[in-house]
Subunit: 230 residues, 2 copies
Amino acid sequence: MVLVETSHPGNLGAVARAMKVMGLRDLVLVNPKCAIDPEARARASGAVDVLDAARHCASLDEAIADTVLSAACTSRRRDLPHPAFTPRQAAPDLLATAGHGPVALVFGSVTFGLSNEHLMKCRWLLNIPTNPEYASLNLGAAVQVLAYELRCVVEDRTLALPDFEPAETMAVERLFEDMERTLADIGFLDPAHPKRLMPRLRRFFAKAGLEKEELAIWRGIFAAARRPRS
Amino acid sequence: MVLVETSHPGNLGAVARAMKVMGLRDLVLVNPKCAIDPEARARASGAVDVLDAARHCASLDEAIADTVLSAACTSRRRDLPHPAFTPRQAAPDLLATAGHGPVALVFGSVTFGLSNEHLMKCRWLLNIPTNPEYASLNLGAAVQVLAYELRCVVEDRTLALPDFEPAETMAVERLFEDMERTLADIGFLDPAHPKRLMPRLRRFFAKAGLEKEELAIWRGIFAAARRPRS
């Protein structure tokens, strides 16, 4: 992440934290207009190491000299636009290219504060989708969105429910028989006019996806409901 | 966006800005541990209006009472997890459901600070992918990521409303009260030793996603089960 002429120390800290939390480390400060002060450290929280390891450069040219790809984050439309992508469109290629050498994401002093001269040095433009009526994305927030998109590519994981044991179909069928008998016993289901009750309950249970232990619980509940009480 | 027991005013401002920049407005503060002070206003920047319009609630129950879906942002793994998704997986459904009524995204005091009790009240869990070695996502950054994902869906314009009406959270809570009372009445639940029964059933219902008509059916079933029989 390359920050050009950052003016607010709090943003330096926020950027460091946003990076580390998504697994990024290499921070470059181009001609910063503020110091890494206590506010920056406080906002960095557990990512002070990223802040302390930041490389300082006198110019954007120097910062991106050894990169194989540089992309500037901006919201402005240009007369002669470079290739422009959303972070989501660009993330897979940014990461794939990083296999060949350093890739720089470049941010202005306030998010949209890169000069035309700076933008021209970068190969791609990145536009983060925002509310057209209030597009003032904070620098730390912009870095967070980009870092998050890169993380998503790294993980590309699907968070499914953990491996609980699903109930067996035959056992579930027996539960439905149990259920139907119980609902008749307690007077909720009229066997002569069952209407659509059981199909509806089947759909409800299908949505939930019954696990073995849950099956046991429901069998217990229906047994207890059937038992005569005083 | 529902913030539970937020302790840092700067985060309040950052959240307001993160929301507005992605086109979101409705902020709810549950039992905040700090005031909307000058630091909060400074960090909100042009989104002070979102901050000033924030609704204050004494409890999470109150905050999500009129919602049709609530999702808690957390990083912790649970023994009995509710359905868990990444923001990317959940965003289209969150937005589609918002066509039926308010949808709440719930955040703890520090991002990972929601109690189990709070988490159980929410139907879904949302896990933002992070660096496993440093997962300390800032509150404002977490809200930014979620708001960004929702924005991406808005811009995609692939909104299809589901064709069923989700039950309101408050009504679902009343159903759980009903259920607990009924299970005690029929002798399945020992109020002195409830163990993990209600959390398990809450999870089961969370997986299914209760619809309005289904809610009515279950209320009827529990009422019938409670009724004394000969």
